[in-house]
Amino acid sequence: MTPDTGSETAPHPYLAHTAAARGLASCHVCARVSPVAEQASCPRCGAALHLRKVHSIQRTAALTITAAILYLPANILPVMTVRQIGSEEQNTILGGVVTFWKSGSYGVAAIIFTASVIIPILKFIALTWLCFAARGHGSLRRPGARELNPRQATKIYRVTEIVGRWSMVDVFVVAVMVAVVQFGSIMTISPGPAALSFAGVVVLTMLAASAFDPRLLWDRVGPEMPVRALSLPLTLPRPRVPIDQSATDDR
């Protein structure tokens, strides 16, 4: 089965156990499995149907790079301006963290530093690495070798997806402070350009994570890879039932 031209990263045929190998695509909205050749949109919900997300790696890479570029003004420009009687003080994100730390609010400083610096940088690294891994360069030491463990890579992808939204904390901190502290000449806080830039960074990284198709990580797994090495979570709220390994219908 020739692969969908939407992704050039699978020049080899899809693995036999996948839906793509049979020309079946799972709708990204309603998860219904339908043949791609017959219809371009899902018969149930009408969303566009593709074997793999279209130009997944290119879109992810482009959005990640744009977010990284936007991250620079978000950190250089001031995020908040505090006007008190006679003095005007402009804070950048990092400057705010330092101020919080020095004034003793260690918890607040840690939260904002984590959300505004650590999480975005880790997201950039993770998304870049996922793009390389989906292309088959998962290991730095042996370029070209299929070293990546797709389960770990998928876990990284899931964590990136879930954690990414929390770096918006700083934007909301600014929004609330600006909304509440409006006391004329005694004290007034106004937002700086970095707030919107940082919101843009978060939005772009979220779009980048949603553009990435985790199935690309599994497309490269060879038959010798022990994908059955499952380590299921320890406590499960519901009993789990393993389902049949392969679809038995042969039509």
């Binding site: 996948t18 904390v169 005694i186 979220m206 393993p242 679809a247 039509r251």
Partner: protein
């Protein structure tokens, strides 16, 4: 499970090519193909290859999800009409409503930020709640409104852009800072908003994506 009637799917056409794919399910992480799992209510099926859960049947999914959505709706209304935070500095008092934060930002000619904040904490949750009610309430009787498919698509599309819990964390962080500045009083809206976040999350997770689409497909118009 809600009482369902056999539906006349308008796009169904007889023939083998149409029937086969409806019996399959593909893992969304590794694309492994499986027969449609026949599991009991309360069980979940995991992918044999990658180990991630791909399908689950939750007990009383529609009823619970609708109940949470109704609670979320009432809490949202309360959260918007009562004061959120009130700050007292040197005799002056400034209290804001949730939408007030957007007003202030817009007044300061920060339209971009105002739009972003308004979208993430007001428009999107309102749409999610209204959408869930629109889709779930008819399902309680085994029916579905016209346009439910569109709304369900939009719900799952926009659920990622719901930043209400992040907003709560931001409010908590700024409260810590504001406590040192002046006397702060937290209004009813804050607690209502916090509970609303819980209700919206519960409503979206009480019914699985597959399940909702199954119910929608089987419901009659």
């Amino acid at each position: 499970m809600p009482r369902t009637r056999p539906s006349k799917d308008p796009i169904a056409t007889p023939g083998p090519a149409r029937e086969i794919p409806a019996r399959f399910l593909a893992c969304e992480k590794c694309d492994a193909l499986f027969n449609y799992p026949e599991i009991e209510v309360g069980e979940s099926a995991y992918c044999y290859h990658c180990g991630f859960v791909i399908f689950s049947r939750r007990p009383n999914a529609v009823q619970r999800s609708a109940a949470w959505a109704v609670s979320a709706a009432s809490l949202f209304v309360v959260a918007n009409f009562f004061p959120f935070i009130t700050l007292d500095v040197a005799g002056q008092s400034n209290g804001i409503v949730l939408a007030g934060s957007v007003h202030v930002l817009a007044d300061q000619a920060n339209l971009g930020l105002a739009t972003a904040v308004a979208t993430f904490i007001l428009v999107v949750p309102a749409f999610l709640i209204a959408g869930m009610l629109f889709v779930l309430c008819p399902l309680l009787g085994g029916r579905r409104f016209p346009g439910s498919y569109w709304i369900a698509r939009l719900i799952y599309g926009f659920s990622v852009w719901d930043f209400t819990e992040v907003f709560l964390l931001g409010v908590l962080v700024s409260l810590l800072k504001l406590f040192s500045l002046a006397s702060v009083s937290i209004g009813v809206s804050f607690y209502a908003f916090a509970l609303m976040v819980v209700c919206v999350t519960a409503s979206l997770t009480c019914i699985g994506r597959h399940e909702l689409w199954e119910y929608l497909e089987r419901a009659s118009k």
